[in-house]
């Protein structure tokens, strides 16, 4: 059906009245705000309202002078590196496990979605508790196995895998729904025919299902990558109480990710110009991921 031909032809301003609220709202909160944040990134802006145009200095500072920008970027990439394969693995396993006649399917579906409807803050608190030095169950288990107590949130090397595991735990229901949908959309007679020809289930998965759901896999990869770039809540919760007051903004010793770095710059340091520049650089990276996705699987909307 052609979209353009749908609907009652209407003249005059009536159609505009219907879209007016959205037009005004997105005009203010999206379009003007976007222009504003671009402008901010060229300003030396702080809380006291003094803002002077400094050209590309904020970007120059971030790319060549700041000791934290690349740290945050590397941590974010590290998070993506941990979380993307994990998400894919969990989603694919659940998708295949749920495929074809499963008893109590709606029960499983319900259970896997519980983490997804739970607040990220609460979930992060639970994980922080599980990995806490004295009271956490993880250190207790390790202690019983004869290992020494580990301070999990002291360094990024351990904080980020924990955060990524938590993220994968939270999105397992989403991954299941995405891959189950993709596998279900494959015509049944394909695998039936292969099965009649004597193909084993593993062969069917390997040679028929996996190639056919490749676009979904790729879509989910990019989706997870983009989400990984925005990881914030969990880092915020994990870093509470961990960051020592040894520098004004609490950058030192913290597991910075890019979104968290932006947050600290803007809302603890009131350096809105630098924060905007950071956010725009991150935005450009995410946009390139989307463009790559578009090239490979064509048009598909991935809201950021």
């Amino acid at each position: 059906m052609n979209e353009n031909k749908m609907g009652i032809p209407v003249k005059g301003i009536a159609p505009f009245l219907f879209i007016l609220p959205i037009l005004i709202g997105t005009g203010i909160f999206s379009f003007s705000c976007f222009l504003y944040v671009i402008r901010l990134s060229f300003l030396e802006s702080n809380l006291f309202g003094s803002s002077a145009f400094i050209g590309l200095k904020n970007y120059y500072y971030l790319l060549f002078e700041s000791e934290y920008f690349y740290v945050a970027l590397i941590h974010t990439l590290y998070y993506a590196l941990c979380s993307v394969p994990l998400n894919l693995f969990v989603g694919l396993s659940l998708g295949f496990a749920m495929y074809s006649k499963i008893k109590y399917g709606s029960f499983f579906r319900f259970v896997y979605l519980i983490p997804w409807v739970s607040s990220g803050v609460i979930v992060a608190l639970i994980f922080k508790y599980a990995f806490s030095p004295h009271w956490g169950i993880v250190n207790w288990l390790l202690g019983n196995l004869g290992f020494e107590e580990i301070r999990w949130f002291k360094q990024a090397e351990t904080t980020i895998p924990i955060a990524a595991t938590m993220g994968a735990w939270q999105t397992m229901g989403l991954g299941m729904i995405i891959f189950l949908g993709a596998i279900n959309s494959i015509p049944k007679n394909l695998s039936e025919a292969a099965s009649l020809e004597g193909a084993s289930t593993l062969q069917i998965i390997r040679y028929i299902i996996l190639p056919l759901i490749k676009p979904t896999i790729f879509f989910y990869l990019v989706f997870c990558f983009i989400n990984a770039f925005q990881v914030f809540n969990v880092i915020y919760i994990f870093m509470q109480g961990v960051v020592g007051p040894d520098d004004a903004m609490g950058l030192r010793g913290a597991t910075l990710t890019s979104a968290y770095f932006t947050y600290i710059l803007a809302f603890r340091g009131s350096q809105f110009g630098r924060a905007s520049a950071t956010a725009i650089l991150m935005f450009l990276i995410m946009l390139s991921a989307l463009l790559i996705q578009r090239r490979f699987i064509g048009r598909k909307i991935t809201p950021l």
């Binding site: 059906m1 353009n4 749908m6 609907g7 009652i8 032809p9 009536a14 159609p15 219907f18 879209i19 609220p21 959205i22 709202g25 997105t26 909160f29 999206s30 003007s32 705000c33 976007f34 504003y36 944040v37 901010l40 969990v90 659940l94 295949f96 496990a97 074809s100 499963i102 579906r109 319900f110 896997y112 519980i114 983490p115 409807v117 607040s119 803050v121 609460i122 992060a124 608190l125 639970i126 508790y129 599980a130 009271w135 169950i137 397992m172 229901g173 729904i177 949908g181 289930t201 925005q230 915020y236 509470q240 803007a266 809105f272 924060a275 991150m282 935005f283 946009l287 909307i301 809201p303």
Partner: protein
């Protein structure tokens, strides 16, 4: 299907059920213990200690946080659905010049990530004096282009003939919207309502920025402040977590099919 494979399937499913449930189990156990647990963990504390729940409820403005969360989730979601359905109606059921062009220009805002937009939005809200107010929290969420997009997709399935017939019968556009299109979209509206409500209830960064006083906090922000307070023990935090998860999980028990439907809508 071969039996071994079926066993493997159920094994995977059950392992993931345990993985999914265990943190919640652990949360409940901890919240029912009187002291922060140091020695060996218990399967279930007998007798259960309810003092942590009492602390969470009465020593902190917990009920107020719940009320705040409820207010912003309801107002945010209803406003969002109303404005989105109005716009989606115009973008699908009406035919006018530049309709699709304007739609796609607006849709492009989906690509703006939250952590980029909160900076200017925060400064704007501060500028107009909406800091620490309910509307400062929920009004920006009224303008959700993803909701417009999903509703528009759905509205396209309403046959042109019906719309035209209503028009010929003398209905004006508002009547077509309110008496024909909306009643016919109850299920999809319900799905989006549940979906957006959950999202609003769990939103964290924006309420964190806009609220300043402890009384205006939403549950997520309040619970985060629990996490940063060294005087609060983990069993109290877990009790608070249970209390703040309870409303949304209760809702999910009854409306879970709308959540998975909403997910399917969003990703396909």
């Amino acid at each position: 299907m071969k039996k071994s494979l079926l066993t493997l399937k159920y094994l995977v499913l059950i392992i993931f059920v345990l993985v999914s449930i265990f943190p919640y189990y652990w949360m409940i156990i901890t919240s029912l213990c009187e002291h922060e647990w140091i020695g060996n963990p218990t399967i279930f504390p007998i007798p259960p200690y309810l003092g942590c729940f009492k602390n969470a409820l009465f020593d902190y403005p917990f009920l107020r946080w719940t009320l705040n969360t409820f207010i912003i989730s309801i107002s945010g979601t209803l406003g969002c659905l109303f404005f989105a359905s109005l716009a989606a109606f115009s973008f699908s059921c009406l035919q006018w010049k530049f309709r699709d062009l304007i739609f796609y220009v607006l849709l492009s805002t989906l690509f703006l990530p939250a952590f980029l937009m909160v900076i200017p939005q925060f400064l704007f809200i501060a500028e107009i004096g909406w800091m620490d107010t309910y509307w400062g929290i929920f009004i920006p969420s009224w303008f959700s282009m993803i909701t417009v997009f999903l509703l528009r997709q759905y509205f396209f399935s309403i046959p042109n003939e019906i719309l035209n017939a209503a028009r010929i019968d003398g209905a004006n556009l508002w009547q077509i919207y309110w008496k024909l299109v909306i009643p016919n979209s109850k299920i999809v509206l319900m799905t989006l309502f549940v979906f957006n409500f959950v999202g609003q209830w769990n939103s964290f960064l924006w309420p964190l920025l806009v609220t300043q006083s402890n009384k205006m906090d939403v549950l997520a922000v309040g619970m985060a402040s629990f996490g940063g307070d060294f005087n609060i023990t983990y069993n109290q935090i877990m009790a608070g977590s249970i209390l703040s998860l309870a409303p949304i999980l209760l809702m999910f028990i009854f409306l879970s099919k709308y959540v998975s439907k909403g997910l399917e809508m969003r990703i396909t």
